[in-house]
Structures are given as structure tokens and as C-alpha cells.
């Protein structure tokens, strides 16, 4: 199920502005890859290019290759809508559909794609997704309530449940805990740890401890100055990045000695 992604020479643009330059990276299946770096260095931009969400922004474009299991996601015959079914995404701010109930939010991937499914099968899918997101016990008695009636942390887990309900192979998470309290954060970190056995996970975070706790490999992005493109400075096993990075800038950033 989980798949491997190889990125080569990826440049990412907003109109004529080059936001990210020549990224080469391999993302291992069934592992957690963390992306860290200062604000504005292009982590979100890079992450969104992995499931072709980047091109949703008017004028945005990408050059280079993102190969998932031998298939270039940016190949001319590839349908971006299909790519997104294989590469799911969780956003920084929880964004459940406000007009839908908790149940419908989880079922949204199936329903919106007009996939007909027997009620019993759908019920099972919703339950297993909510269990997978560690939310089932909290909401099983109120599946008909609006998704927006949950707390922020619960909403974020609802969004994770919604993302895993379409059974993607890869799950991208852009600062999924930045709006959450420490307890919800821990719950989501536990969840990431469990999900790792089924999915390939890429997570952007500003929290060094979080990167150290949950990830197997860590990539450090940096930017030379405003207006310059962001670059992948180094990427290695998380332990190595945090104990003995090979680039000075990485060490400075991790230890907080960053200008």
C-alpha cells in the first residue's frame, strides 16, 4: 500500500517567482519524513507539489519530476484528480465541511466522488477511519452532529479521518498540530506513529521535538534571503540530523542559533 516517492530537480513557481529550487529527495515507504525550516522557505509549497495541489493556485507551476512507484506524477497523461486520491493531505487549520455532519465529513471522499457504496460498507468505513484517527470513542454517539461542533483538536482528527477514509498511499500533513494543545498534539503524534505502518507520511513542522519524536528521516529547508528560492539543505536520518548534522546551517537552526 504505502509507496515510495522520488523527487528529482524539482523547481516550484508562483507565476514567475521561483519559490523552491532543485529539490532532490527520496521519501521511503512506511516511514515518517519530517520537513523543517524557517518560515517562508517553501515547505508548504513543496508539500503541496507532492499531490499536485500546488497548481490549484492560479499561475502556479512546477518543473521537474516527482516519481511515485515508477510513475511520474507530472507526466503529461497523469490526471491530478487521480493523483490526489493516492496522496491525501491534512491542512494546517482544521477544515471540516461546515454543512456536513461528522459522519458525512468522513464519508465525503466517497460521496463527493459519487462512489456508490452500500450503507453497511460505508458505516464500516466511517467507523474504521474514525478509529484510525483516534476519534471514534469521542464521537460515536453524535455522528449526526455538524463537524464544526467539535473542538479544534477533534476537528483536526476528523480531517485526518476524512483523509484516510479514501485510503491513500501517502499522507501529507502541513503543520497538523500548530493549532492544537499539547494533549491533542500528543494524540496526533501517537496517531502518526500508528498510521506509519500503512501509509507513507510526510509532515511539515516547526516543532523540533515533534520532528525528533515522530519522524524517521528529516529534511531541512532553508532560504538565503527574501526573494530567493528555498532549497533543501540536507536530508538524513532524524537521529543524525539532530545529533550530528553535516551542514552548519542545519545545526544552527536546530539549536536555535539562527539569525
Amino acid at each position: 500500500m504505502a509507496k515510495r516517492i522520488d523527487v528529482s530537480d524539482l523547481d516550484i513557481f508562483y507565476g514567475s517567482f521561483k519559490a523552491v529550487e532543485s529539490v532532490n529527495m527520496s521519501i521511503e515507504p512506511q516511514s515518517v519524513t519530517a520537513l523543517i525550516g524557517p518560515s517562508g522557505c517553501g515547505k508548504s509549497t513543496f508539500l503541496r507539489s507532492l499531490n499536485r495541489m500546488h497548481e490549484v493556485i492560479p499561475g502556479a507551476s512546477v518543473a521537474g519530476k516527482v516519481v511515485m512507484d515508477g510513475q511520474d506524477l507530472y507526466g503529461s497523461d497523469v490526471d491530478p484528480v487521480a493523483v490526489r486520491r493516492h496522496v491525501g493531505m491534512v491542512f494546517q487549520r482544521p477544515n471540516p465541511f461546515p454543512t456536513m455532519s461528522i459522519y458525512d465529513n468522513v464519508a465525503a471522499g466517497v460521496r463527493l466522488n459519487s462512489g456508490r457504496m452500500r450503507k453497511a460498507t460505508l458505516d464500516e468505513l466511517v467507523e474504521s477511519s474514525l478509529r484510525g484517527a483516534n476519534l471514534w470513542e469521542e464521537v460515536k454517539d453524535r455522528l449526526g452532529r455538524p463537524g464544526s461542533s467539535l473542538s479544534g483538536g477533534q476537528q483536526q482528527r476528523l480531517c485526518i479521518a476524512r483523509a484516510i477514509a479514501i485510503k491513500p498511499e501517502v499522507l501529507l500533513m502541513d503543520e497538523p498540530c500548530s493549532a492544537l494543545d499539547p494533549i491533542s498534539t500528543l494524540a496526533i503524534e501517537d496517531l502518526i506513529y500508528q498510521l506509519k505502518s500503512d501509509f507513507t507520511i510526510v509532515i511539515v513542522t516547526h516543532n523540533m521535538q515533534q520532528a525528533a519524536r515522530v519522524s524517521d528521516r528529516t529534511g531541512f529547508f532553508n532560504i538565503e534571503g527574501t526573494g530567493k528560492p528555498g532549497r533543501l539543505i540536507e536530508m538524513d536520518a532524524t537521529q543524525r540530523i539532530f545529533s550530528n548534522p553535516s551542514v552548519k546551517a542545519t545545526e544552527d537552526y536546530i539549536t536555535g542559533r539562527f539569525g
Binding site: V56, R85, F91, N95, F97, D104, L112, G144, R145
Partner: protein, 356 residues
């Protein structure tokens, strides 16, 4: 010096910096009552103009309250009181014509607003009796047809502008919609007449022509209001949908339109209410008749505004029956618009609470 308390120099009666003088609750109503009493007394003694008296009363209340409040409560609260008086009187001023209109229409119209009026036509009626059944049916049919034509066009146009439109074409469409908003209703009627006259000759009169003329007026209103509602849908919801592997068209239909549905429903009702009382275009293209015609595509069709107009201008002999019918028809129109607003509320509540 250990004290860090700052005492405002202009307020002497205050004990510390957080509390200040406060007018007792009864003071503002008492001032209003006092001034009203003075005004009433003056009105009884001398013969004064009502409007003038009201204006003086408002100014008086504002002045007295501000001065008193300034003495007791300080400058900031005095300003607050003054602005409260101004805002309240502006509100009342805006409401007065509306209430007066409502009262006049109900007073004059209620007499003939009866079962006969709602179920009979004017066929063969010269003096007493008769009703506006044919006009009610005509208004409902023409307006419904106008809505059927313009709501899909308007919503699709708004979807295009918000979700797809880029560059020159979108700007052109926006400009055209703006221009359309300013079209005088008589011109819309002439347009419909000129268009249908090409095919059916200059004596053409039918309901659907009226519906087309009304759509010309309705489309820009629907586009504008739907556009605003669609813009309110947060981009995050679109992205959430895309990220689930949902295509753009399905996202627009099932997420964006669904989220904006409550607002769009309200906008559509307002647009209907805007055109349901149009007289000029219907005068030209739908014409007028005394009997029931429920066929939009054939023959003259009466409607409530036209019925009102003719009942008033050509009341027959003796004239009071026609005038009464005119008022009753105006009241009927009022009631229909009220009902429409209720329906809109129900719809928007259904869409916004509904989560099954």
C-alpha cells in the same frame, strides 16, 4: 512616591481611576418623557406643526441628555449618549415611511381583501364585486417563469465569475452585469416587446414576454448576490475537497454551492421580490385582461401591479369600487412578498441547519 494611580484631572467626583460617575437608569427615559410632556403641553396650548415638534423633541433630548451626561459621566459617555440618540432617530426616520405605507395599505385594502376578491376574476364586472384571481395567477405565473429563466442563468454566471473566470472575458461579464443592473424597467419591457415583435408581429402580447422582460431585470441581481455568497465560501473548503481527489466541477456543485446555498436562496428571493411589483414592462408586453388566462404562451395576461394600475386609473362607475379593488390588490402583493420572505427564511434555515 509609591502611588501609581493616575487620576483624571477633569473628573472630581470619582473615587478611583476605574469607576466613574454613572447616570441612574431611569434618567434617559425620564428626559425623553419630560420633553414629550413639554411638547404635548405646547401642542395643546398652541397650534404647532407635528413634524416640527418631533424634530424639536429629538434635538431637545439629544441636547439635554448630552449636557447632563457630560456633567455626571464625562466626555466619552456623553458622546456615546449623543450618538445613541442620533442613531436611534435615524432608524426611526428610516422606518416611518415603511410603517406608514404598511398601515395605509392594510387600512384601505382590508375592506375588499376577501374570499370573493381572491377567487373571482373581473370578467363582466362593471361596478361592485369582482376580484383579482386572474391577476394573482398571472403575477405568480409570470414571476415564476422569470425565476425559472433567470435563477439558473444568474447562478451559473456567478459560478463562472467566481470559480472559473479569468482575464478579459470575466471582466467583460462583470461590466455587463453592472450595466444590466442599471437598466430601467421600461427599457427591459421594450426590449422584450421588440424581440418578440420580430417573430410574432407588433400586436404580440403574452405572459412569457413579461417573464423575459422581468428576467432581464432579475439576472443581474441574482448574479450579484450569488457572486457575493460564493466569494464568502472559504478557499480552504475547496482545497479540502480537491485534496480528497474530487474534481473541480464536483467541488463546485457539492461543496461550494452547497455551502453558499442558504445565502443564494435569500438572494434569489430578494430578486423575486424586486421584480414581482414591476409594472412598466408588463404593461408593454403582457398587457391586461379581465379574465383568467393561465397560458403563458397565448394571449394577454393580467398581473397584480397592472390590475392595481387600471383599477385606479379606470375605476368605472361608480369609482369607489375600482379604487377599493386597487388597494386590495396592493395589499395582496404585499402579502405575497411577505410570504416569499418567510419562504426564503425557511429555505435558508433548512440549508444552514441541515446536517441530517
Amino acid at each position: 512616591m509609591t502611588s501609581t494611580t493616575v487620576t483624571p484631572p477633569d473628573r472630581k467626583r470619582v473615587q478611583n481611576s476605574l469607576t466613574s460617575g454613572m447616570l441612574p437608569r431611569w434618567v434617559p427615559p425620564a428626559i425623553v418623557a419630560g420633553i414629550l410632556a413639554v411638547g404635548l403641553a405646547a401642542g395643546l396650548l398652541f397650534d404647532v406643526n407635528l413634524m416640527l415638534a418631533a424634530a424639536f423633541a429629538v434635538v431637545g433630548v439629544g441636547l439635554v441628555l448630552t449636557v447632563v451626561s457630560r456633567q455626571v459621566e464625562g466626555a466619552r459617555r456623553a458622546k456615546d449618549r449623543l450618538v445613541t440618540v442620533v442613531v436611534t432617530s435615524a432608524f426611526v426616520l428610516a422606518l416611518l415611511p415603511l410603517v406608514s405605507l404598511l398601515i395605509t395599505v392594510v387600512q384601505n385594502g382590508i375592506e375588499r381583501f376577501d374570499g370573493e376578491f381572491l377567487t373571482q376574476t373581473m370578467r363582466g364586472v362593471l361596478g361592485e364585486g369582482g376580484g383579482a384571481y386572474h391577476a394573482i395567477v398571472g403575477t405568480l405565473l409570470i414571476t415564476a417563469a422569470a425565476a425559472v429563466i433567470s435563477v439558473p442563468i444568474g447562478i451559473m454566471c456567478a459560478v463562472y465569475l467566481v470559480e472559473y473566470g479569468r482575464g478579459r472575458l470575466a471582466r467583460a461579464v462583470t461590466l455587463l452585469v453592472d450595466v444590466m443592473t442599471g437598466i430601467p424597467s421600461i427599457v427591459a419591457g421594450l426590449f422584450a416587446f421588440a424581440m418578440f415583435a420580430i417573430f410574432f408581429g407588433p400586436s404580440v402580447r403574452f405572459g412569457i414576454g413579461g417573464a423575459v422582460a422581468l428576467s432581464v431585470l432579475m439576472v443581474p441581481v441574482v448574479v450579484r448576490s450569488s457572486e457575493e455568497m460564493l466569494k464568502l465560501v472559504p478557499n480552504e473548503l475547496r482545497e479540502a475537497s480537491y485534496a480528497l481527489g474530487v474534481s473541480k466541477s464536483r467541488t463546485v456543485v457539492k461543496v461550494v454551492l452547497r455551502t453558499a446555498a442558504a445565502g443564494i436562496a435569500t438572494g434569489v428571493t430578494l430578486a423575486v421580490a424586486r421584480v414581482i411589483g414591476e409594472t412598466a414592462p408588463l404593461l408593454i408586453i403582457a398587457g391586461s385582461t379581465t379574465r383568467l388566462n393561465a397560458d403563458l404562451f397565448e394571449g394577454r395576461m393580467s398581473s397584480l401591479p397592472i390590475f392595481t394600475y387600471y383599477s385606479y386609473t379606470i375605476p368605472g362607475v361608480p369609482p369607489e369600487f375600482g379604487v377599493d379593488r386597487a388597494w386590495a390588490a396592493a395589499l395582496t402583493l404585499f402579502v405575497i412578498v411577505m410570504l416569499l420572505n418567510l419562504v426564503a427564511r425557511a429555505i435558508s434555515r433548512y440549508f444552514s441547519l441541515n446536517s441530517r
